[in-house]
């Protein structure tokens, strides 16, 4: 190899000087390596590479890759005299053992391309036109109806020198949902199932996607749906009809009263409220209840807690005093129905003392300008942009320039601690820029959709950003919030995860999202108004039970996706049914778990650690990130054990002064106690069978109290209780 290297260098020099190479390293070799998966993060594209061979992630840094491929290790990876003997080809064809398996077939298009490039002497021109545009053909969203479930896509790249070419064989094609459709490396899409996918096409730094809907009418399907209440129903039903999903019927009053209370206040309805509601014969009683709940203090407290999750409201992040103040501020914002644009502006442009302006604690929770930008981006743009900090985003259009351009809006934000107190002062310095970590250049503020734009140099950059963000025409702002609210109420977002907007994660019902966002903007970003419209819709009041024509629907709202109660909801519900609410450290005994200012207030008291475990097991977030994913909604063995015989649950059931024991002591008839247990936990009367079984068990028991414990335990372990359905 010591001999080969100089020979190779001479050959290389000779070839590059004699004319334009036939194969482009930047435009062909690197994309093909990327397409084979060589430069992906789990392979040689990881920061330390694999097998002492490191490529930049998805060919992000061509100069590094050229150095690695034919200069590093004395050029041992390349054999220009016998190109097919190059390590670069021997390994991926498995001619030599390769941990990553076979990635190239001998004589395949990719193999031949790399071999020819080596044969040409591995030319790597310093100046080469850059790819400025990628098109997918045929363009626009597509609807494919069974049995026509295939579509051939092609990709066309346009370069900075004005040239363009077909890059289908060089581009990477991926699907957002393999259950619905797959795409092969040649760009052929094949549908598996009715539904919707995004096909992402990536070539060099360009990323494009196309949305394809697959429609198939099941045998025996007939369209039947209730009349739309408002535009929400119209959009939802239109999508369902297109996909041939039959909506489930509307829910009963008892299911509604339970669902609406849990969704708007986080709490189960009280027995008396349920009874009154069920007895009410008014036609508009559901909308009346909605209005009264939206006007209640519990609504403000519960939805403030939701924002507390997202804004990292915890003692650890901002200190104990600030937690209460920021939580109060959030509650007042919701209670006063502060418009969402003003709410966002307050958070983003907050200045001054964190005590006088609790919203300034949003900046306190961020570590630096990058963190502030990442949090803001995820909260208000619905974009998880973190990846672009170190390299261009692999699945999105975000580039590293974009990342630091956005960060520049927060580059001048400063904080200082005042004295020994928890008080922090937030302000903007007159100077401060963001430096690109690779080029070292200062990057001007940049926003998506608009790019860089002019504004007075002394103007508060955060204010400039907030003004851009909250403009009615902003393509992200309103959609992100309506999707978040939708997800809170419907159990799943139109975009899901609801804070992960990207081309490869398309909305399940774009017209619905557009209509909600438009209406939201028109209403002056009125969150309460939006919630009212959603929960008054049939889409919201659809049953949680599926039918034969929508069983496989997980995204289009043909039936309500049941959700396990949140950790705090569950604790409060158990406490409410048993009459033994959980007590928390640092707040009055009347404060519910769903209203706690922060999850870590109680952790000061070691004696309550068992109870905290209950909340943690059921997914209460630590609030360490702004990601909605921190709140776990899944089920697990730990949860089953807690409900089987956990310390907290057991103490509630066995308490001598529980509600059912008090009723027993008051000599209330067993049938009334059974009825009351059902009303308080399931918001409905027991049916005849349930009643008969329960009474038979109770009447047979010697210790009625113990028997009631058992009955209560059984009811509270039912999915009907554990889920918001």
């Amino acid at each position: 190899m010591k001999i080969i290297y100089p020979v190779f260098s001479l050959v290389s020099l000779g070839l590059t000087c004699t004319g334009k190479p036939r194969i482009s390293f930047n435009h062909e070799v690197l994309p093909i390596l990327s397409k084979q998966g060589c430069s992906q993060g789990s392979c040689h594209g990881s920061p330390h590479g694999k097998g002492h061979f490191r490529l930049s992630l998805r060919a992000f840094d061509p100069s590094l890759d050229s150095h690695t491929i034919f200069r590093e290790e004395l050029g041992r990876r390349i054999n220009p005299i016998e190109p097919s003997k190059s390590l670069l080809l021997l390994k991926p064809t498995m001619a030599i053992a390769h941990e990553g398996g076979e990635r190239l077939k001998v004589d395949s298009f990719a193999y031949n391309l790399i071999r020819e490039w080596i044969r040409e002497g591995c030319p790597t021109p310093e100046k080469e036109a850059t790819c400025i545009k990628l098109e997918i053909l045929p363009g626009g969203s597509k609807l494919l109806k069974w049995p026509e479930f295939t579509l051939q896509l092609s990709a066309r790249a346009t370069f900075s020198d004005g040239s363009s070419r077909d890059v289908t064989r060089l581009a990477v094609f991926t699907t957002s949902d393999e259950n619905v459709a797959v795409v092969n490396p040649a760009g052929k899409v094949t549908g598996n199932h009715r539904g919707q996918v995004a096909i992402l096409v990536r070539y060099l730094e360009q990323v494009q996607s196309i949305h394809i809907t697959f429609s198939r009418k099941p045998e025996g399907f007939t369209w039947k749906a209730p009349s739309p209440v408002n535009y929400i129903d119209e959009k939802v039903l239109a999508k369902l009809r297109l996909l041939h999903y039959a909506p489930s019927p509307l829910i009963s009053d008892s299911t509604f009263v339970r669902r609406i209370h849990l969704d708007l206040t986080g709490l189960l309805p009280k027995t008396a409220v349920v009874q009154t509601f069920l007895a009410d014969e008014a036609k508009d009683k559901r909308s009346q209840l909605i209005d009264s709940l939206l006007d209640s203090p519990d609504y403000a407290k519960y939805w403030a807690r939701k924002w507390g999750d997202l804004l990292r409201l915890s003692r650890k992040q901002i200190g104990e005093g600030a937690v209460y103040k920021f939580a109060d501020w959030l509650e007042q914002s919701i209670a006063s129905n502060q418009s969402y644009d003003e709410f966002a502006r307050d958070l983003l442009t907050a200045k001054g003392s964190s005590l006088l302006n609790p919203e300034a604690n949003f900046i306190r929770t961020t570590i630096n300008a990058e963190d502030a930008m990442e949090s803001t981006s995820q909260l208000f743009l619905g974009s998880r942009i973190q990846c672009a900090k170190c390299h261009n985003h692999p699945f999105e259009r975000w580039t590293q320039d974009n990342y630091y351009g956005l960060t520049a809006f927060f580059a001048r934000t400063k904080t200082k601690k005042l004295g020994k107190s928890e008080e922090t002062f937030v302000w903007n310095a007159k100077e401060g820029e963001v430096r690109h970590p690779v080029t070292g250049k200062h990057l001007p503020p940049w926003v998506p959709d608009t790019g860089t734009f002019e504004f007075p140099p002394d103007k508060d950059r955060r204010q400039v950003f907030a003004e851009w963000l909250t403009k009615p025409g902003n393509p992200f702002f309103a959609k992100v919030e309506v999707n978040r609210i939708w997800a809170s109420l419907m159990g799943i977002g139109i975009v899901e995860p609801f804070d992960d907007f990207r081309d490869t994660n398309p909305p399940s019902n774009e017209p619905l999202l557009e209509a909600l966002a438009k209406d939201f903007v028109k209403s002056g970003f009125n969150r309460r108004d939006l919630i009212r419209k959603i929960v008054n819709s049939n889409a919201y009041q659809t049953s949680g039970e599926s039918n034969e024509f929508n069983r496989d629907d997980t995204r289009f709202f043909s039936f309500r996706q049941p959700r396990r109660l949140e950790a705090e909801q569950l604790v409060d519900a158990l406490g409410q049914v048993t009459g033994k609410p959980m007590k928390f450290h640092g707040v009055p005994v009347t404060v519910k778990a769903v209203h706690l200012p922060a999850p870590d207030l109680a952790q000061r008291n070691r004696s309550m650690i068992g109870d905290i475990e209950f909340l943690k097991v059921f997914g209460q977030p630590e609030r360490q990130t702004v990601c909605s994913c921190e709140r776990a909604g899944d089920a697990g063995l730990g949860q089953a054990l807690q409900l089987f015989n956990g310390k907290l649950f057991n103490s509630m059931l066995t308490a001598g002064d529980s509600l059912f024991r008090k009723s027993l002591s008051a000599k209330k008839p067993l049938s009334a106690i059974v009825e009351n247990l059902h009303l308080s936990s399931l918001s409905r009367f027991p049916n005849e069978e349930e009643k008969a079984i329960a009474l038979a068990y109770l009447e047979k028991a010697k210790d009625k109290g113990k028997a009631l414990e058992d009955l209560c335990w059984a009811i509270l372990n039912r999915n009907e209780f554990l889920f918001n359905h």
């Binding site: 501020w329 007042q332 006088l356 005042l418």
Partner: protein, 692 residues
């Protein structure tokens, strides 16, 4: 040899003796007010105040006086323990009730009071003079149990632990109600939250921290209909036992006054500032202040439609006031300030800058001290001192203090410009400021280290000395200055040196308590520094004493202590309960002499427990034991035997000190009593003197 002998200001050993023992140190139990109830006196009314605390004098001794920031008539009502009868031993008081009467024109607002007792002067406690009556109401923790209030009134209570307090109101359509909590402003460790709720528990108005009142919330609300409303008060962390005063009525809620300062004795027009949406009130008044300037004053505002006052703090100053006028945003528009003044202005719009110019001579000290938050403004000032070429010479505002001063010494003759802006670039008419701008500013200050457990007072017997442990903080000023203590009685003599040289860092400054002062008398000590340079006019700076850090060690929850409390140290003349008497004595070199120390009880009936005697002031070579020796209580005297060294110089007079230290029975109060004596060395030189 003469180095051994006492000569004023030169003998370090004597100095050490003075430091350690020639004072009366209250060592163990300090006088302390732990609570005053109610915490308010109403103008034009009499109120019985109950003081609880420790060592509030001896019961029945008749010595009890309120020293306050406001004028009042006072009389003792009762004491606990009760005064002794039949010659029994008096005990230290821990509770006393005083009736206090205020005139109708007493200014409303937050002031302070301290008790002067036979044991000394207590640390201050903040106290409110209000024009709202205080009513006794039992606060409830459940909304449905809340007691109906009939405003205007005020209630004093303590926050419930892990709970909230509710009070009920019946609001009338169109009625304006103002509600505020005073707690933090009264020096209490409380951070209250206030909410006004409707009958359904919905928030009608809420308040937490406010620019004008810090941690004390305040709100106003106009009822849109006749409705029942509830006032909710809580400590932000739901901590219990925190004192608060709830004011409910129709009164203004000004954040501050503009201007925020007044020149003592000069009639000034003030306008109330804020809150947004409320009309500004104005008043014109001349304020002298009970303690002159600089001091903190409280200014009340009340319109004809109001049934009580709102009040704001005001700073009383000696120097004239300069009120900023726009435009002054450009260097060419700078206001020229020719002499020391208080600059008052507003940062009316975002990114507003106010510019002032100063023509200085080389070496002149320029000092700026901003006031914003302490006087109710939300502004955080950024001060930038520049030369005419725009070079920044010094700046202040980025530190961790809300009101960061700026000091600069001119390096050349010429004009300097002060640029005043808001750190966060905010600006509205409420963003006002005051800056104390001193040309030829005090180039140094003296911080009193009163210690954490101090009373913030000094005490001594008439004829003795009191020692202040001072730390001199110099600002590029190395000259020796003369330091003079003064008070209401005029100047005080200094024992030892009053010249403070460059080398001085921490030192003891000893002040002679005049023989003419009687036990129980007191004065407020201040310090004046003067400097005279040949060929230059003398310079003098008053009030160079500052003990803010000491004050805040003792009373950490008073965020902005009244300035008159920070540069005036109460000096109390202790009663001569015990007189230490020393027999005059003399002897020649080589002679053995005896000095007899005896104690004489001057007043009262008490025991002096386990007294010990110490000696100080002797030259080291005389080998007088330094360790304290037991005082023979049975004999009533103690004798020191010593041999005058052979090398002692005849004719010298050595001033030595004896101190007796012990505990006064019942008072649990360690005390030191001392006296001094001149010891004459006789012998050869005397004879020569006579021969001549």
């Amino acid at each position: 040899m003469r180095a051994f002998l006492y000569s004023k200001g030169q003998n370090p050993r004597v100095h050490f003796g003075l430091l350690m023992f020639l004072i009366l140190l209250p060592l163990v139990e300090a006088q302390q007010i732990s609570s005053v109830s109610p915490r308010t006196a109403t103008v034009g009314e009499s109120v019985e105040l109950e003081f609880a605390g420790k060592n509030l004098g001896l019961s029945g001794d008749g010595n009890l006086l309120i020293l306050a920031s406001f004028a009042c008539h006072q009389e003792i009502i009762s004491e606990e323990p009760k005064p002794p009868t039949d010659g029994k031993v008096a005990k230290a008081r821990n509770k006393v009730r005083l009736k206090v009467s205020l005139k109708k024109d007493t200014p409303v607002g937050v002031g302070w009071l301290r008790l002067v007792t036979s044991m000394g002067i207590t640390p201050p406690i903040l106290f409110l003079v209000d024009d709202l009556p205080t009513r006794k109401v039992d606060p409830k923790t459940r909304r449905e149990d809340a007691v109906l209030l009939d405003p205007p009134l005020a209630i004093e209570s303590r926050t419930p632990n892990l709970d909230v307090h509710y009070y009920k109101l019946e609001g009338k359509s169109g009625q304006r109600i103002a509600i505020e909590v005073l707690g933090s402003r009264l020096g209490e460790d409380v951070d209250a939250v206030l909410k006004l709720l409707d009958a359904g528990g919905r928030i009608l108005a809420a308040s937490d921290d406010e620019p004008g009142s810090g941690k004390d919330p305040r709100l106003s609300h106009v009822f849109g209909k006749n409705e029942t409303a509830y006032i909710e008060v809580r400590e932000v962390r739901y901590q219990g036992g925190k004192f608060y005063r709830l004011r409910v009525g129709n009164f203004p809620l000004p954040m501050a006054a503009f201007p925020m300062v007044a020149q003592a004795g000069i009639k000034t027009s003030f306008a109330s500032v804020g809150p947004p949406g409320e009309a500004s009130l104005s008043r014109s008044t001349r304020i002298s202040g009970l303690y002159g300037a600089p001091s903190r004053y409280s200014l009340g505002f009340r319109g004809s439609e109001h049934n009580a006052s709102g009040f704001v703090p005001l700073r009383l100053v000696e120097e004239p006031q300069f009120i900023e006028k726009e435009p002054n945003n450009q260097l060419s528009e700078a206001h020229l300030i020719e002499s020391s003044a208080t600059l008052t202005g507003r940062l009316q719009i975002p990114n507003d800058v106010d510019i002032y110019a100063f023509d200085l001579k080389k070496g002149q000290h320029l000092h700026f001290r901003p006031f914003c938050r302490s006087l109710g403004s939300p502004a955080f000032l950024l001060l930038s001192l520049q030369d005419e070429k725009g070079r920044v010479l010094a700046s202040a505002g980025n530190g961790n203090s809300a009101e960061e001063p700026l000091h600069h010494v001119a390096s050349a003759d010429g004009r300097l410009l002060l640029l005043v802006s808001e750190l966060a670039g905010r600006g509205t008419p409420a963003f006002h400021y005051a800056i104390s701008a001193h040309i030829q500013a005090t180039p140094l200050s003296f911080h009193w280290d009163a210690g954490k457990a101090s009373h913030l007072t000094v005490s001594g017997q008439a004829g003795s000395t009191v020692t202040l442990k001072l730390k001199s903080l110099r600002k590029n000023f190395g000259e020796t200055i003369e330091l003079t203590p003064f008070g209401e009685r005029g100047d005080y003599k200094v024992f030892g040196s009053s010249s403070i040289g460059k080398e001085k860092g921490i030192f003891d400054f000893e002040i002679h308590v005049p023989e003419t002062m009687k036990p129980g008398e007191w004065d407020l000590l201040r310090l004046r520094a003067s400097f005279t340079k040949e060929g230059d006019s003398p310079k003098e700076w008053t009030d160079v004493l500052d003990f803010k850090s000491a004050f805040q060690n003792v009373l950490p929850h008073i965020p902005f202590p009244p300035e008159e409390l920070l540069n005036r140290i109460p000096m109390f003349v202790m009663p001569r309960k015990i007189e230490v008497s020393l027999d005059p004595i003399s002897g020649g070199p080589g002679d053995m002499v005896e000095i007899k120390v005896s104690l004489e009880k001057k007043e009262g009936t008490f025991r002096f427990i386990k007294p010990k005697t110490s000696w100080h002031g002797f030259p080291k070579k005389w080998k007088v034991p330094v360790k304290a020796q037991n005082f023979d209580e049975k004999k009533g005297f103690s004798i020191l035997k010593l041999t005058i060294p052979e090398k002692a110089i005849p004719g010298d007079q050595i001033e030595v000190f004896a101190s007796v230290r012990g505990e006064l029975e019942n008072a649990r109060y360690m005390r030191v009593f001392s006296n001094r004596i001149s010891l004459g060395v006789t012998g050869k030189e005397d004879i020569l003197e006579e021969t001549k």
